[in-house]
Assembly symmetry: C2
Homo-oligomer: 353 residues x 2
């Protein structure tokens, strides 16, 4: 085993309380912890970029683990998608493994703990290809958000040239990529977001046909109708709630609705009520489909290559909202629910060695 | 032009009032009317079998026509799917047409007025093939209900051998066929209905694995869970409302939900509210799809042949609830909402000549 080449104080951020509604700073607690000891089959990782996503809110509720073991436990470190660098490897296991060989200095990603340093089983890390795009994108544009946008838009939304596509949460990490993919496919694309800055981002940076600021509109259903005189063929929904209802009121026959996220509801304690969509689904022969990105895992490699190609060709732009400092992870997470972010929220914890 | 060979008093049934809630006998009015005069391009029809369906309720509300011209107008004859016999043909048009030639005595079907006799444009009638199955089935098992069951179950539900399928309204005209098709495909099939007689029909006549009488169950979600220990892969929903919620609470990953009808809601004045399904759709990667049977019209002929083959082989049974007498059409329609019917509600208006 290699030895650890740092004397830095290790730290973790744990779930201090199950939040009720939007999490607050008291939901979290930072602890000083010992540097972990490398065991057989493990690597020692130094966190570089930590990703925070609204969907994590659901794992903070009280209750038993879901099937994927996603619930966070009190006083245990929270986990999220992270880009890290290998600082030590248990080489005995590496030799036994038929998987990738990992070496000190390699950049990897996975779902890791909010810890500056941690040991992780080799089976739970994946190599980052630094030639595709900047390494932070391994957990964003080329990670779950980008892949969600890709498969949600292409496999579920199935946009055809000339169709009208509406994306809610369009300035976010998933929505901004989903909207641009629909533009690449030749659609008229309308993005919904909640600030003047975001609308400018949608219209000027992403080149969408129109951005609608839902906070400045009295009747969203009317605004959608006026902006989409031919109706809505594809609705990529990251938000849910009344925003969903307003777009849904304007769907065309054979509309496809990809249910990607429901940020409006993540902080609700009870299942939210709303108008039942069934009648409209019948009347419009429309389809509404939920998905998780792992449904498409057999096609991840080709999707990453395609997104990277669009990015490197300049057909798709990607924006990160980067905050520095391990101790600022909780603030960055809480900020997701204020509706202020443009682009993917990331925290830079340390530099690549 | 041939002359009309009957002296019978012609009659029509009109919409007398827009109903509020469940229609009553005052919703309708029977009028004596003149025998119509055959004009160019028309046939004179004598109604034989009239079909009534819950979905017609929506057309009785006040308001403008929908795109398909489906709204019934006050003091105009109501229309529904009907099997009729040609009693006269305008032969000049027949010669001009490239379509089927029609002759006196032919059995045809279409969406006709609630009139004993009426003239209809040749473009609006379709021949019934009496060799496939009894002619009344042209508007039931081989008509919209049967085709809705066929395409809703096979194209949207996509049941695979060994999967668990739940059908609501399973004793009705659509549900009974949908459930049997799932049995033919090798599924475990659970039917939901609302009377002891219907449950007996589902279990003994249709051979479903289990019938659940929702009127005798305290908690439908629990009843479904106990009956479907492996969860629900396909849900063919004819009912909606809280029954939907109970089945939906038990869906499996990658479940397919065919939204066929929503009889629970047809008499509601406002769009009904309920739990939003989006979170569960995401969590289960599930699909919920509405349809109207005309989405599949290019495949009607093969579907009719397949259903008729199953019927003639004894693999699929079909039950009609036949009432006699033109004047009893309103009662038959109103009866649809009492939940008492087993099988397709039909009214026999006259004999084939």
């Amino acid at each position: 085993m290699k030895t650890i080449n740092t004397k830095e104080q290790n730290q973790e951020i744990v779930l201090a309380n199950h939040p009720s509604g939007v999490p607050t700073i008291d939901t979290f607690k930072i602890n000083d912890i010992d540097m972990p000891t490398l065991k057989e089959g493990e690597v020692l990782l130094k966190s570089i970029y930590v990703s925070v996503d609204p969907g994590m809110r659901g794992f903070m509720n009280k209750g038993t683990d879901d099937a994927a073991g996603n619930k966070f436990q009190l006083n245990k470190a929270i986990t999220s998608r992270t880009v890290a660098q290998i600082v030590a490897v248990d080489t005995t296991s590496n030799n036994k493994s038929n998987a990738n060989n990992f070496a000190v200095g390699d950049i990897v990603h996975g779902r890791f703990a909010w810890q500056k340093y941690q040991t992780v089983n080799i089976a739970d890390i994946e190599k980052v290809d630094p030639t595709l795009a900047p390494i932070s994108t391994a957990v964003s544009m080329l990670g779950i958000p980008g892949l969600s946008a890709y498969f949600g838009m292409l496999s579920i939304g199935q946009p055809k040239k000339g169709e009208t596509v509406v994306v809610s949460g369009a300035a976010g990490s998933v929505g901004s990529i989903a909207a641009q993919i629909a533009k690449i496919k030749g659609c008229k694309v309308i993005g919904i977001a909640g600030s003047t800055q975001k609308i400018a981002f949608l219209e000027h940076d992403l080149g969408l046909d129109k951005g609608i600021n839902y906070k400045q509109v009295d009747d969203m259903a009317v605004a959608i109708r006026e902006t989409c005189p031919n109706g809505v063929d594809v609705f990529f929904d990251n938000v849910g709630g009344e925003l969903f209802d307003a777009v849904f009121a304007n769907i065309n026959e054979h509309a496809r609705i990809a249910i990607c996220g429901q940020i409006a509801d993540y902080n609700e304690e009870h299942p939210p009520q709303g108008p039942r969509p069934m009648h409209t689904l019948i009347k419009k022969s429309a389809r509404m489909e939920g998905f998780v990105v792992y449904d498409f895992k057999d096609h991840f490699a080709e999707a990453k290559q395609q997104i990277a190609d669009w990015y490197n060709n300049g057909e798709l732009i990607y924006k990160e909202n980067l905050i520095e400092g391990f101790e600022n992870i909780p603030d960055a997470f809480i900020g997701l629910f204020s509706g202020e972010n443009i682009g993917k929220q990331m925290i830079k914890v340390s530099d690549v060695a």
